[in-house]
Amino acid sequence: MHSSFPILTALIVTPAAGALLVALLPKGRPELVKLAGLLTSLAVAAMSVWLLASFETGEAGYQFTSQHPWIEQWGISWNLGVDGISLFLVVLTGLIFPIAVLGSDPHHDEKPYLAWLLLLQAGVMGSFLSLDLFLFFVFFEIVLVPMYFLIGGWGYDQRIYAATKFFLFTMAGSAFMLVGILATVFIHRANTGVTTFDVVELTQTADFATSTGRWLFLSFAVAFAVKVPVFPLHTWLPDAHTQAPTAGSVILAGVLLKLGTYGLIRFGVELFPEAAVWSRPVLLTLGVVGIVYGAVVATMQTDLKRLVAYSSVAHLGFIVLGTFAITSQSLSGGVLQMVNHGVSTGGLFLMVGMISERRHTREIAALKGLQKVAPVFAAAFTVIMLSSIGLPGLNGFVGEFLILIGAFLTARWWTVVAAVGVILAALYLLWAYQRVFHGEPDEENRSFPELTWREGLVLLPVIAAIGFCGVYPKPMLDRIEPSVDRVVALVEERTDFESPRPVAAEHGDTSGDESHGDSEGEG
């Protein structure tokens, strides 16, 4: 499996180089610019698929690691690696960009648009692959710049406000994290005499005093909670989503928000297990509040895009619940749900973008009876929407169900409330669907164009992923689970938290074993 080709470095460098190439191409040749952008993103997609194919199933640790000194004075290195937790996020990042590039049109200034998009991809890839705290922070921060310009340059009316809010919220979170990172490294140095930003080494040798660990965890958790976003730090998200161009929303929902949930697992639970267990009640509560709040507010929205944005808040609440329930199933479900949410919400944003492209409005009230005039379009929307609702047989169900059965064992009452969210999701999405697609189309909606071939081609992989993962999630879970178990084992080793384990670790597609609720230890 360890080929000599530095695949992970290539996954970061290729889009960055592509961005540079696009930026250097002449402005008067938009077709050349588009081709270069598309080819770069396709090359990255191919590499990420290759990574998926050569990933060793059943291996819990990091694979394809590559480490080169960068700033030796500070013990910082270019340190990359991928494990089951980050694997599918990396693949998702690789695949969603060509979809975003093909599935939406910037309308003006293609050159900087594509350059920023590719730079964004490099940053997101880097964040998921970094095993060095400094390097992670660098990528985590650098992501803000292209996203800021994408929202600000190609978004809707309130774009500047939304872009600035996005930038400042995230940066404020990062301010805490940077101090936390430095404190972690220096306290670790005081304890062990080794200056390192290496996450693996820190995880293995970290031995923080209880209160120190809790403070450090908090500094990280704030940054990630803004990014996720966890209620009540979510207020930037609806604005950013609503105002961003379609590709921006797709990527924001698809992968950018996952930086937060991924960070909570990798740099929260794994690095500070004691503090993670200690903070469970608060974070579980915030997650569940997010689920219910997001769902209720989504129901009330009149703007289709804002509705999907609030549904994101709800979905990410599930992932937070799964993460801090800290059972093998709930965490696996959480990781899976990160990918599922990326696929289905990304798909929804894509389709809302298509509607807005056709009708120049996203107001639910202005849309009516689209099913009559564009049945294929409506069918595609239905599939993606049902996946977002969590219909059995589609991918959303697998993730949510795993989270719920996993979390039920260690966080029963939170799970009970969270389950309400599943019903609410059906409510707000179906109601919106009913208003937009059902009924007789009025004058303005009668000429709504049907799905084009190109759009169909873009949606095809999304729908394929929804179907495949819904029916046969085992290949994904097989790769996710060993790494998740490693995290759970670490938590159990470092704390007196006991995570109940299913007797048989077999996962049928949707046949969760409910009979294992034998110990409901609350930590």
Partner: protein, 507 residues
Amino acid sequence: MLAQQFQGPSVDWWSLSPLLVLLGGGMVILLGGALTGRLWPKGLYAAAAATTAGAAAVLCFFLWDDVIDEGAQRLVGDALVLDGFGLFVTVVVCVAVILASLLTDDYLRRESLDGPEVYGLYLMAAIGGVVMAVAHDLLVLFIGLEALSIALYVLAASHRRRIESQESGLKYFVLGGFSSAFFLYGIALVYGATGSTNLGRIATFLDDSVAVGNNDALLLAGVALLLVGLGFKVAAVPFHTWAPDVYQGAPTPVTGFMASAAKAAAFAAVLRVIVIGLEARQDDWRPVVWALAVLTLLVGSVMAVVQTDVKRMLAFSSVSHAGFILVGVEAAGRGGDPTAADPGISGVLVYLIAYAVLVLGTFGVISVVSRKGDGATDLTAFQGLARQRPALALALTLFLLAQAGVPLTSGFIAKFGVISAAVDVHSYALALVAMLAAVIAAFLYLRVIVSMYLTDAEPGSPAAEPVRVPMSTGVAIGLSATFTLVVGFVPGWLLDLARDAAQRTLG
């Protein structure tokens, strides 16, 4: 009686060579310019000033080897020192002169100002700055401070046809005179308390007299007055009120020079006097520096956000940066191991060079955007710059993002250095305040970026007028941008230099 014959201190001329080169170059430009009138092609003045500063910087590298081999040395009867710290700051000042000269050349032509005086004054100010950085005696430091300040007063007022420039020079002069008086009185009080103006002897005296400590009031009052004087020069809150007016009114390249060279020299003096000279009394001054840092960070950032004139914004942002550097100062001087490099000092040094280059690049762009008359510095003057001059807009974006501390730029490395120094000594609260102040300040940089990229110039407004980028200015901006990125991606060499400099600081 031979003993009565005056015995001058021995002078190691080679070790003083950077100063001598700057002095010689300054004299040649001033005298040559005055005597030969308009014979010189205009660009030659700038070239001469830049070459002089470049030569001084090169000499610093030769001297650097000596310092590495032989350690720090005392010069001219212990009035000056030759050490890594002094050489590093000398190079920062020289770099500032080079970039400022490149920016000034076109500026003078555009504004139809003539005269070599500006370049001569740059070099004179540089001499003052270097003397401040290498002084080992409070009085020598004061001479450096005055040389720097007086040159800057004149420079600020050097645009003869702009009333704002005159106002700026006068304000700076009056307030600067005040602060010099404070500083001088502080020297007198410290002399009264310790019996010497020599930093080495002051340190020795304080080390020995810890147990006695009966002169506390005198000493503390002296230290406080020294802090006021230096705080004025670095524009630390509450001694910052001159900065916005002076920055806004002064000719733009001069503003850049002020924000880089003067700030670097003043912080060098702060470190010399407070951290190194008064190390024994760090428990007394550290809380004061802590409070100054917090105030400077917050007031600077918040006030920057509400400005509409870009030069004023950057004046306040420069105040906020001073706060960041104060975070490094607060963290300095606490290392247990005297032979190891002090992360606070090396952090400040990295910050000074990174900020000097950044701010000169920024003001370089502003200088060309301000157009003829040097008046178009309102936020609206930047509208649509990205369409009109994409490369220029990109460069300014880079400088602004770097000032905000976005990774892969020198600004991030600089911020990381001082923040890590602060966290290293458990100044968590201060580190956090600094980072949050950076977020506030980021809003202001974003405002400029929004103006450039996301809003279009209205036809007929000043922003619609074409922006001309002459070559020398372009070169200066290009050099600054390159440095910003190189340090952002490969900071190792600079960190090594700063560490060596901090390690070989005369304590």
